[in-house]
Chain length 198, copies 2
């Protein structure tokens, strides 16, 4: 299948999440069929993104500046910190445009099985901000999983230490636009349990 350089490209593409040997070959062929229009711009974009990428030392976001453009945005409220597991979660909330405060990206969840303990989570900058007294509310937007729940309770214990700080968590319930009969039992129970006056 072509020379060493082509095989190496297919091997690396095959390591991307969701890729197998088949999709790696398809993408490699797509790129190699028109290198100038397809492969070269992608290689250049990767190189530039790799050179520019920085992890925000305040919130853990990935950006090309540190602190990131969210942390330095004067229109955002630094008094409301939304805690998320991953940068992907942060991006999802930003796309939705529903949070006007700032973030703290933990970089994972507590998971004894995977060997992830409290020291592996990026929570220090949040505690620093709390100690400075600049935070009014912490919103916990962690995944509705066992690990997410474990992490949330551990964080709530830590946050109870800071007086005058409201700790809230995102609601569980029916997804908007979702039909009732395709929801799992856990979601149905949560949606029913959190019912509000109509």
């Amino acid at each position: 299948m072509g020379g060493h350089e082509i095989e190496q490209l297919i091997r690396l593409l095959g390591r991307l999440p969701g890729f197998g040997p088949r999709s790696a070959r398809r993408i490699a062929l797509f790129l190699l069929r028109d290198p100038q229009a397809r492969l070269v711009p992608l290689a250049r974009a990767l190189e530039r993104a790799g050179e520019a990428i920085k992890t925000c030392s305040t919130c853990g976001n990935l950006d090309t500046v540190d602190p990131c453009h969210i942390c330095t945005d004067p229109l955002r409220d630094p008094g409301v910190v939304c805690v998320v597991e991953t940068v992907g979660d942060l991006w999802a909330l930003e796309r939705a445009g529903v949070h006007r405060g700032v973030y703290q990206v933990l970089g994972g969840t507590l998971s004894p099985l995977a060997g992830i303990g409290p020291e592996d989570l990026n929570v220090g900058p949040l505690l620093e901000r709390l100690e400075q007294g600049s935070v009014r509310e912490v919103i916990l937007a962690l995944g509705a999983t066992v690990e997410g729940a474990t992490t949330m309770h551990w964080l709530m214990d830590k946050l109870a230490f800071y007086e005058g700080v409201t700790v809230s968590r995102v609601a569980q319930g029916m997804p908007v636009g979702g039909a009732l009969d395709v929801l799992d039992d856990g979601t149905l129970a949560a949606a029913l349990g959190a019912r509000r006056p109509a």
Copy 2:
């Protein structure tokens, strides 16, 4: 969602076949979370493959040498040429290891609707080889589509001109390991029509 370099990377990833904005973001995040281990090697592999890639002037294969390593392999029979539509088809046959001759990659099929005519297909090198008298057999391994059939008949007309050359086509029938009841009617008809003594 991060700086301009990150957005540009997501935009280019989103143009890959089978990608949407969601998968482009997922792959970008995967690469950017660990640039040294993930992004940099991929960027380098792309760059190297882009520099090394050549189209074989004999058969149309993509390789890092021209003529490609198949055309120059002394163990292969240059007297048997297998005609395929794409380099992907050639790679599939090579993985299967079922063809010990050489190839001719057309680069597509005749398709008046898509504006692809005979002059767009890479058939010249095949005719040259036929004129040199070095070819005993041409195997047509084109897709079982309307365009594939059209292209095959057009090629058979062209090849009829060369005496002493056997022109064959790959058999249609049941895929090996396939169950009868999931096959489409066309495949069933072809498999039945091409039945052989048991």
